[in-house]
């Protein structure tokens, strides 16, 4: 006589680990964008059809589905279009508190995401509320550029 299938044993678990290394190719447009950051210039590319200046630079416009043509330098000054304050620590992510936001730089048609530094985050609610009015910001370059988006950060033009 066979045993009943209902006989229960504790669930067995087996450990797994998944940590692979990768090399990402940034592509033609981003390679040039990052090279220009070292020259303290933030560059966009213009779509010949919708005439938007895409920042950070892209090789093609995915809305019009055509290649971008001109390279355009945009201003380091812009508007903090939206942001969040990272308040909770997660393994593998940057240590909070931190502010990241999308900034529309003068001369650009699309916003670029980066850290916003120099804000007093003792009270996140107060800091967040103070920044709701799309405040002006400026890109500040790091002393040494290494070809990452974090080669620059934004700071508020006036303290929040």
């Amino acid at each position: 006589m066979g045993e009943s299938a209902a006989g229960k044993v504790p669930p067995l678990t087996i450990d797994g680990h998944w940590a692979f290394d990768y090399t990402y190719y940034a592509g033609d447009a981003a390679s040039r964008f990052f090279a220009e950051l070292a020259n303290r210039r933030i560059m966009g590319t213009r779509c010949p059809q919708c005439l938007r200046v895409l920042v950070p630079a892209r090789g093609f416009c995915d809305a019009c589905f055509v290649e971008t043509t001109d390279w355009v330098q945009v201003s380091p000054h812009g508007t903090l279009e939206t942001f969040t304050i990272l308040t909770t620590s997660f393994p593998g992510l940057p240590e909070p508190p931190l502010v990241v936001g999308y900034v529309m730089l003068a001369g650009a048609s699309s916003a670029v995401l980066n850290f916003v530094d120099g804000i007093d985050l003792t009270d996140p609610d107060a800091a967040g509320t103070a920044m709701l009015g799309r405040p002006p910001v400026t890109a500040r370059f790091k002393d040494v550029c290494e070809g990452r988006i974090t080669d620059f950060v934004f700071t508020l033009d006036e303290p929040a």
Partner: protein, 393 residues
């Protein structure tokens, strides 16, 4: 065949949605699919197509999981494939099945959406890896901060507040208390939401979905095949549409055609799907299941679904809109994704819950007399949108 095939959902099978399941992925899939077949009255031999959805492989820690979960869904000997479009994975699988059925590839399809994200011990880090590694990943972007960037913009543009969103959360949790499958069944109050841990300002823990596991399965058939099941309730597919946006969120800031928080692709998908079904607004439905893992994201869908103009969203929340006893459409009678959000299944759950409602088979969470229901899906960087309209037989 004369004219396009009419499609209907014949059966639904779901595991409970929980923080963690102790069974193996194939076992869980088998269980949900078995339940869906039993509910539909069809046998495994009646199924022609098996389409499976599974979200980022790294959440489950199993690369190309289709090898193991599709056979567990009954794929052996049949036409089968796996689909992944992030949050919309489950509904994208259902649409693929519907398209193949309409194309005459078979009479009946089994669709399954699967999530095993609790197998990952660092879910936020895995979610960071879904973003562009060149321009964005270094900023620590995760699904929560991606949502928060939208919430802040909605506060700026339309005057939403944490208090208003907490009322949306409170209603979703109240509804979930009647859903035995929901992961979160505590009826959290506005006060609980507003004092929960801040994750990424302005989003607190209870503004956001939990990490959930589970499997949802749905049997879809051409109504010619469904006719053999006479006497059983079914949910007819009256309209469906899906539209894709750019990945780049920055490109949608101030975009003429539709800003980041205007959900252009849901607006387009809803316009098409509602039009096919002859509805002027999703508010004309009895039930609307909105695929929104955050309370602010639910309100972002209000204008695209034609409940109100975007600027009037805060007043609509103020009015108590969407409650089970509110007189208007019932929003998320299941509790929605805020009460259970198994990523690879969640958009299919919205469809399954709408099907159960119009079949009159939703148990404790049944909305009495529900005849028409609308389900939405949102995936990628709020980039893949779907809208489906169902009605009862």
């Amino acid at each position: 065949m004369t004219g396009p095939a009419e499609l209907a959902i014949l059966g639904v099978g779901q595991t409970p949605y929980r923080r963690r399941h102790e069974g193996s992925t194939p076992e869980l899939v088998y269980g949900a699919v078995r339940a869906a077949l039993d509910h539909s009255g069809l046998e495994h031999r009646d199924i022609d197509l098996v389409i499976g959805g599974f979200a980022p492989d790294a959440l489950a820690g199993e690369n190309c999981p289709d090898k193991r979960f599709l056979p567990a869904a009954g794929a052996v000997g049949k036409w089968s494939m796996r689909i992944n479009t992030g949050g919309t994975t489950g509904i994208a699988a259902a649409y693929a099945a519907m398209d193949l059925l309409e194309a005459g590839r078979g009479d009946a399809a089994l669709v399954v959406g699967v999530e095993r994200m609790a197998q990952a011990r660092s879910v936020p880090a895995v979610f960071n890896s879904i973003f562009d590694p060149i321009y964005e990943r270094d900023t620590g972007l995760s699904t929560v901060s991606m949502g928060a960037l939208r919430a802040t913009r909605m506060m700026q543009s339309w005057g939403y507040t944490a208090e208003l969103w907490a009322r949306v959360a409170e209603r979703n949790f109240a509804h979930a208390a009647s859903n035995p499958l929901a992961h979160i069944r505590t009826a959290y109050s506005v006060g609980d939401v507003l004092t929960s841990r801040m994750l990424a300002w302005p989003i607190r823990q209870l503004d956001a979905c939990p990490i959930s596991e589970g499997v949802c399965a749905v049997v879809i058939a051409r109504t010619s095949a469904a006719a053999r099941q006479r006497g059983r309730p079914l949910a007819r597919v009256r309209g469906r549409a899906t539209v894709t946006d750019t990945y780049n969120m920055g490109d949608r800031i101030g975009r003429r055609e539709g800003d980041l928080v205007e959900l252009l692709t849901l607006r387009m998908a809803a316009q098409r799907a509602l039009g096919q079904a002859g509805l002027a607004s999703a508010a004309d439905a009895d039930v609307v299941e909105i695929h929104a893992p955050f309370d602010h994201a639910e309100t972002m869908a209000y204008a695209p679904l034609r409940f109100c103009a975007a600027a009037d969203g805060p007043a609509l929340v103020e009015s108590g809109f969407g409650h089970r006893d509110g007189g208007g459409p019932v929003i998320n009678p299941s509790g929605g994704p805020m009460a259970a959000n198994p990523v690879g299944a969640t958009a299919l759950i919205r469809l399954a819950e709408c099907a159960l409602q119009v079949m009159g088979a939703a148990g404790e969470r049944q909305v009495p007399g529900a005849a028409t229901a609308v389900a939405t899906g949102q995936g990628g960087s709020t980039q893949f949108s779907t809208c489906t309209v169902l009605s009862g037989s």
